[in-house]
């Protein structure tokens, strides 16, 4: 009987949420698409626009350094590596920039000489696009999976598996009080007024109450409980 009071509630919540999750999904897809679309690395700062022909900013050069692996050191970019060849390669980057080459031309120059694995990340073209799309696909698949799991868990919610009869006689008056409060509350909630301190108390006593963290009152209750001991 107690269960039956909460079913409508569940449905209200369950219906309004898929939209939230779908929204999240869209936001995410956009975010990921942005990730793929950005042509700079996170670190490369946008070049200052008003620079005269042939000059470049140091941070622009450093952005390019961070895209190129050092050919002789394990897993380091020429920006990091402290060996002679990386000093030379950094100098080449700067020389090419001052001659007016752009980022892509410089990267191509190194790819021609050393092969594609000189780049610190796979190129965003051709077969290597897979490297970038897979994570996006994975995240979207994950979100859909979470949504489906939650939905199926929520649907099963109508089966009253855990509703146990109230065994402690001392609880009964309190539960009745709570049920009354719930009715009051539901009306109050619809009016959009303050949140409801005892809303969680409808549930059978097997569940810990006083969990809801965002209502001051419930915390207050549990703390009083503590001091009582």
């Amino acid at each position: 009987m107690r269960r039956s009071t909460l079913i409508p509630y569940t449905h209200i919540a369950a219906r309004s949420i898929p939209r939230a999750i779908l929204l999240l999904l869209v936001v995410f897809a956009l975010f990921s698409a942005l990730t793929i679309a950005q042509n700079d690395t996170l670190h490369a700062q946008t070049p200052e626009p008003n620079l005269p022909e042939g000059s470049f900013s140091e941070s622009q050069a450093q952005g390019i350094d961070r895209m190129i692996m050092c050919p002789v050191c394990p897993a380091e970019t020429i920006d990091q590596a402290q060996v002679e060849i990386s000093f030379q390669m950094r100098q080449i980057v700067r020389d090419m920039l001052s001659k007016g080459s752009d980022r892509d031309e410089i990267l191509d120059f190194f790819v021609e000489r050393y092969g594609k694995d000189i780049l610190a990340a796979p190129p965003k073209s051709g077969a290597n696009l897979v490297a970038w799309l897979m994570p996006v696909g994975g995240v979207i698949a994950g979100l859909i999976a979470v949504y489906l799991i939650l939905r199926s868990m929520a649907r099963r919610g109508s089966a009253p598996i855990t509703a146990q009869p109230v065994t402690d006689a001392g609880l009964i008056p309190y539960l009745q009080l709570v049920d009354r409060h719930l009715d009051l509350n539901r009306n109050a909630a619809q009016l959009g007024s303050k949140s409801n301190p005892t809303s969680s108390s409808v549930y059978p006593p097997g569940d810990a109450l006083g969990d809801s963290p965002n209502t001051e009152e419930s915390k207050h209750n549990s703390e009083q409980g503590e001091q009582g001991r």
Binding site: A121, W132, G138, P213
Partner: protein, 665 residues
């Protein structure tokens, strides 16, 4: 010492193997005596491994160069305190260390296991001891640190200079202990499954040990970053090296686990999911140890190459496949005790959190295997390094920070839209205000704006929770605000410990955002007397002194830092050259403030006395290192045992909140 060490290693191996077989046989034949003696074997293995550890330490201190491992990782010039580091400088010692840690953790876990878990404990013991047997067998047969050389060299080869740094005293042991520590919650989950327990008996032990390995991994990762920052000499702290990734992924897995285990602890839900998660985390931990100790991928961590690769790989395959088979076998038993009340509930938020954490782990794994795939399918060599991870994981991490601000404010079971809106409003306003102010001040980097906005969002949410709770205690009991605040934390340690850890994650976020977007870097060669201006600072290079010292030559440069014409500090960054390793260890001079770090490192010393410097101004990175201790405090608070409460004789409303203590992460 070599003999004592080898013998103890083999005895421990025998004990572990006996305990594995004995506990299962004892359980199946219902022989309590056999089960008990198998448990004693766990303790005995721990003690015997301590003897082996002790032998190796003595061997190092006495510089017993007859032992190959000692000769390879120390020399007469080494200070005795570096024995600690030399111990795990190579595979052999690391494996001994891992085995010892596992044996000791297992002993404590078995000894302290809850009474209600007694039925399944023999299986847990067997899983623990099977893992220990594997590690000890590999150590004893293939990588015995006590193997002797056919002759006694006059001096050893010396310790790798990169390891002689303060951070190295803690980073490797913390990480290795964290990785092997995941075995414990995993073994509890497996024991529960094998025994056919349907309930949540394993959850408490699983949570506690999950948290312990989580904090060890987190500390290890942070210390490793700090080490890289101060000694690798390029001014950054994390570069998505394959071995960093291998340690990062299990940490992600455990992070997901310690969150979702709370759902099972509190609500009896996600039973299958928690088993899957701990299996995944264990698999990733094995992968981490494989990458670290198998040494198959080029990385700064490849200290010792070895042929252990395929053995680790086999064990990893077994360690992933068998648990999943067991899981499938027991699948029908793992029904949730309750159903989801609403999609707007903390349970649901935890599931999304898990998904994001696993997504980051997936991206990282994908990046690690992609070069291999590309070689196989396309016959094309491709590198996947930092730019890839930054671009793909960056947004995911921001989403995770966002969720960190939302999740804890949503109640269990279900939340009304109205109340959620009310709770989230102040944090959202705080976040948006931050974005607005920063944008008005001329900050136009989208990611950085989002990062700072989210940091404020999360912090506001947490502080408001603290304020509300404190005020409510203050009002109800008349405690002063400080007492009320402390009592509030002590009353629900898992929850408030979690908040403290979340704050430390915000600090890490600040550090990452600050250095990723606002750092200024300058590489320059200076002759003595020359100076350079970087940002608001002026650096004057006074000169460099060369001091030969035993196994190395130290180049100490003296640099004055000025700001607005005032001398702030005179610093002495160092570069030590080790001829026997043909390797230089740099020691950056760092002037650290909460606003920004000034970082100077000499990258080359030229013959004419001039020095190539790398100078960086790194904003906010200070917060990253402060986060470490904060995280530790938070975890200790969350782990601190709660008093067991006597049932309340008085039927009162408080009865409702006392069934289970509010324990929320």
């Amino acid at each position: 010492m070599a003999e004592l060490g080898t013998i103890s290693l083999w005895i421990a191996l025998a004990l572990a193997a006996y305990s594995t077989v004995g506990s299962v046989a004892g359980k199946l034949r219902q022989s309590p005596a056999l089960v008990e003696s198998s448990q004693s074997a766990v303790y005995a293995a721990g003690l015997v491994l301590l003897v082996a550890t002790f032998s190796l330490v003595i061997a190092f201190i006495s510089r017993d160069f007859e032992i190959a491992y000692v000769a390879a990782h120390s020399d007469l010039a080494m200070a005795n305190r570096f024995t600690w580091v030399a111990f795990y400088a190579g595979n052999e010692g690391s494996l001994l260390y891992i085995g010892t840690v596992l044996a000791i953790m297992s002993s404590i876990a078995v000894w302290r296991s809850p009474e209600k878990f007694k039925d399944a404990l023999p299986y847990t013991t067997a899983v623990l001891m099977l893992t220990l047997t594997f590690f000890l067998a590999v150590t004893a047969i293939m990588a015995n640190p006590f193997d002797k050389l056919p002759f006694v060299p006059l001096d050893g080869e010396g310790i790798n200079p990169l390891l002689t740094h303060f951070g190295m005293f803690f980073h490797p042991p913390a990480l290795m202990a964290g990785l092997i520590g995941i075995t414990i919650p995993f073994a509890f989950a497996m024991g529960s499954l094998l025994a056919g327990n349907t309930g949540d008996e394993w959850v408490d032990a699983g949570r506690v040990w999950g948290l312990i390995s989580w904090v060890l991994l987190a500390a290890g990762l942070l210390l490793g970053s700090w080490w890289a920052y101060t000694i690798l000499g390029w001014g950054g702290f994390w570069f998505w090296d394959p071995v960093e990734n291998a340690a990062f992924m299990p940490w992600l897995g455990v992070t997901a686990f310690i969150h979702s285990i709370m759902v099972q602890k509190r609500r009896g839900m996600f039973r299958m999911w928690n088993i899957v998660l701990i299996n995944v985390a264990f698999g990733l931990a094995l992968y981490g140890m494989f990458m670290n100790r198998g040494g198959s991928v080029p990385s700064v961590h490849s200290f010792g190459s070895s042929s252990l690769g395929w053995i680790f790989l086999t064990f990893m395959a077994v360690g992933v496949i068998v648990p999943f088979l067991i899981f499938i076998w027991r699948y029908p038993l793992l029904k949730s005790a309750r159903n989801l009340d609403s999609m707007l509930s903390r349970e649901a938020a935890f599931l999304v959190n898990n998904m994001l954490l696993l997504a980051i782990a997936f991206v990282t794994l994908w990046g690690t295997v992609y070069p291999l795939l590309s070689r196989l399918t396309n016959d094309e060599e491709i590198t996947v390094a930092r730019p890839f991870y930054d671009q793909v994981n960056g947004p995911l991490m921001l989403a995770l920070v966002f969720l960190m601000g939302v999740g804890p404010l949503i109640p269990w079971r279900k939340a009304g839209m109205a109340s959620v809106r009310k709770t989230l409003l102040p944090p959202i306003i705080g976040g948006l205000a931050t974005v607005g102010i920063l944008a008005a001040l001329g900050l136009h980097k989208e990611y950085a704006l989002i990062g700072f906005g989210l940091a404020t969002f999360v912090t506001t949410g947490i502080l408001l929770e603290w304020y509300r709770g404190t005020r409510s205690r203050h009002r109800s009991s008349g405690e002063n605000y400080v007492t009320a605040f402390l009592n509030l934390i002590m009353a629900n340690r898992p929850r408030y410990g979690g908040y403290i850890v979340h704050l430390s994650v915000v600090m890490v976020t600040l550090g990452i955002v600050g250095t990723s977007f606002f750092s200024t870097q300058k590489d320059i060669v200076l002759s003595p007397g020359e100076s350079v201006v970087v940002d608001n600072y002026e650096f004057v290079f006074l000169g460099s002194v060369e001091t030969p010292k035993g196994n190395r030559t130290e180049f100490t440069s003296t640099v004055q830092i000025f700001r607005d014409g005032k001398l702030l500090e005179t610093v002495r960054p160092k570069r030590d050259f080790y001829p026997s390793f043909n390797m230089a260890a740099t020691n950056a001079a760092i002037r650290s403030t909460p606003v920004e770090d000034v970082y100077i490192v000499p990258s080359e010393n030229l013959p004419d006395g001039s020095v190539g410097f790398r100078i960086l101004i790194n904003p906010l990175i200070w917060w990253m290192w402060v986060a470490g201790p904060v995280m530790l405090v938070g975890t200790v608070v969350a782990l601190w045992p709660q008093r067991v409460r006597a049932p309340d004789p008085v039927p009162s409303p408080s009865r409702f909140s006392s069934g289970t203590r509010p324990t929320v992460v």
